[in-house]
């Protein structure tokens, strides 16, 4: 019996350590950010000035950059990852081709982000630059300034979109496979076509699980640092449009922390980290709520 108790206590200790970890991280962030929060107040969130020389700091350009690239990446990747999941989870289920695709998608998840950044810089950036050059005259007519930089919000979103495909695709495929066979067979027995079964039975049944996968990819996109830094152009200004260079919260921290020589600059970078932490946590809470609402009561 003593062994049993010891085992249980050990498990409990581990669980508490993990929980405590999150708490300690948030306290550290608040502590480190407090000089900035006291000095700039809530204005830190909506000021778009980031000037280390005059010690003026505002997080808005980075907040905008992070949200813009993450949601755009999600929008770009969702059709691909969902198609993949439906194909593998329903149409190719159990066939050898399904395994090939599955391994390929999982391979994307295993590629380090710096490799994606490099691919973005070497392959995607010249492409985007070509497109931007074609679009320049159109932009001029519409009064939108498009510079053929190649790097910027769009390029970063494209790289992110590819990176987050496996997160949604794998989870969505797994929940699609969990849809009870009798439900599907009932639908077929009413004479439903395959498309109708997918649309009206399988996807609605699995939607909370799919959404959980979406949430996971969003989390990855929000926090991704290396690949984004390499292709976003690192301009600490509000992005004027899709083609403009920008910067994200994760990327500005990685860029400036090592050489932040004044206390307020350092603290402001920690504060940006705090904002990122709160945004990610907030999105997770909302997501969990939506998942609960969406779950089909069986």
């Amino acid at each position: 019996m003593r062994r049993e108790r010891l085992f249980r206590n050990l498990l409990q200790l581990a669980a508490w350590l993990v929980g405590l970890n999150v708490l300690v991280i948030s306290i550290t962030l608040f502590w480190g950010a407090s000089p900035t929060l006291r000095h700039f107040g809530p204005g830190f969130l909506w000021s778009s000035h980031w000037n280390p020389v005059t010690d003026e700091f505002g997080a808005l350009p980075f907040l905008a950059g992070t949200l813009a690239t993450s949601f755009l990446a999600l929008a770009l990747s969702l059709p691909l990852s969902l198609s993949m999941a439906i194909l593998l989870g329903e149409f190719l289920r159990g066939r050898w081709l399904s395994n090939v695709f599955k391994s390929l998608v999982d391979l994307i998840a295993a590629v380090p982000s710096v490799i994606f950044g490099y691919w973005g810089l070497m392959v995607l950036v010249p492409w985007v630059r070509e497109v931007e050059m074609q679009l320049m005259p159109l932009g001029q007519r519409l009064g939108i300034e498009i510079m053929p930089y190649g790097v910027g919000v769009l390029t970063a979103s494209l790289v992110l979109a590819v990176m987050i495909i496996p997160n949604t695709a794998s989870i969505a495929r797994e929940v699609l496979e969990l849809v009870p066979r009798d439900l599907k067979e009932a639908a077929y027995s009413f004479g439903a076509t395959r498309y109708e079964v997918v649309r009206s039975v399988i996807v609605p049944y699995a939607r909370s699980g799919i959404f959980a996968g979406v949430l996971l990819s969003l989390g990855r996109a929000l926090g991704e640092t290396m690949a984004v830094t390499m292709v976003i152009g690192n301009t600490n200004e509000m992005p004027a449009n899709l083609f403009a260079p920008a910067n994200t919260m994760a990327s500005v921290i990685a860029n400036e922390l090592a050489e932040a020589t004044t206390a307020i600059h350092y603290s402001s970078l920690v504060a940006v980290g705090l904002v990122l932490f709160l945004v990610t946590t907030g999105i997770n809470f909302i997501g969990t709520y939506i998942i609960k609402k969406m779950t089909v009561q069986a």
């Binding site: 020389v53 810089l121 860029n255």
Partner: protein
Amino acid sequence: MKIVSTILTILAVLCLGGAALAAEELLGAGATFPEPLYSKMFDVYYSQTGNKVNYQGIGSGGGIQQILGKTVDFGGTDAFLTPEQLAKSPDNPLLHIPTAMGAVVVTYNLPGKPQLKMTPDVIAGIFLGQIKSWNDSRITGLNPGVQLPGDPIVVVHRSDGSGTTFVFTDYLSKVSPDWKEKVGAGTAVKWPLGLGGKGNPGVAGLVQQMKGAVGYVELSYAKKNNLPYAVVKNRAGNFIVPSIKSVSLAAGASMPDDTRVSITDTDTKDGYPISAFTWILVYKEQAYGNRKASKAKALAKLLWWMTHEGQKYNADLLYAPLAGDVKAKAEKIIKSVTFNGQPILK
């Protein structure tokens, strides 16, 4: 069993080896700019004396914080400490010991890799966004023989906080009142325009990808990677090719005794105007915390070696060595380091 005994043997050899040398291990952290040089120096120093020196290139800001927190034996920095930073250790002042000099060059992507001539006004004009294309008369006027395209100029700067940015913006602040008012100097600044690349490779990569791009990188990086760079007009009115020699010559006039000086826009006749020192930071009184006299002595000896024998590695790695006057001042500073009030080196 065989593996275990092998490991034990290796461990025993390592322990004995360590004991035989009875070496002090020194720990430093800071600027990334001199890291290749320090690695080479410390490697040679280890093979000559058996003293291990561990240096981590975490950035000047980190180096300053670590030495202020006394978690390292010495810090490395590309920017000398501000009076506020010095005031953080009022009882035991931090000393600056120059170890090498470097320079920042303006590089560009133009057909045929010409060596352009630039004046301070032209450089400031480009990075302020006032000179927008390569065939602007302010550039073509200085370079009559060069065929310059009408491409728009794309400015590339460092995205990471960096001593290189500090040196470059410090220079621009000195030569352009407009720059000083609108942007100023710092390891990171609010750039009026352009794209950011991470590190020297990031900037060089973007410049090489885009026709008509211009950026700034360390001289050593530009040389190693065969990038074209501009000849810059200095205060004396001479166009100076950046080189190890012209960088060394930039330190000359009116050096203060503590060597805390910016030598950008130098007034020496043949000095390259965008040059700078890199320093090591140590405490003047070494008997702090639980430090032993042997450690303090090892540190003082290392500093002496770096500013003397060690200097011969500078040029190989494309850093400029310390010139006469600066060397004498460095010697004086190292000799002022004490342990319990007693000078360590006589």
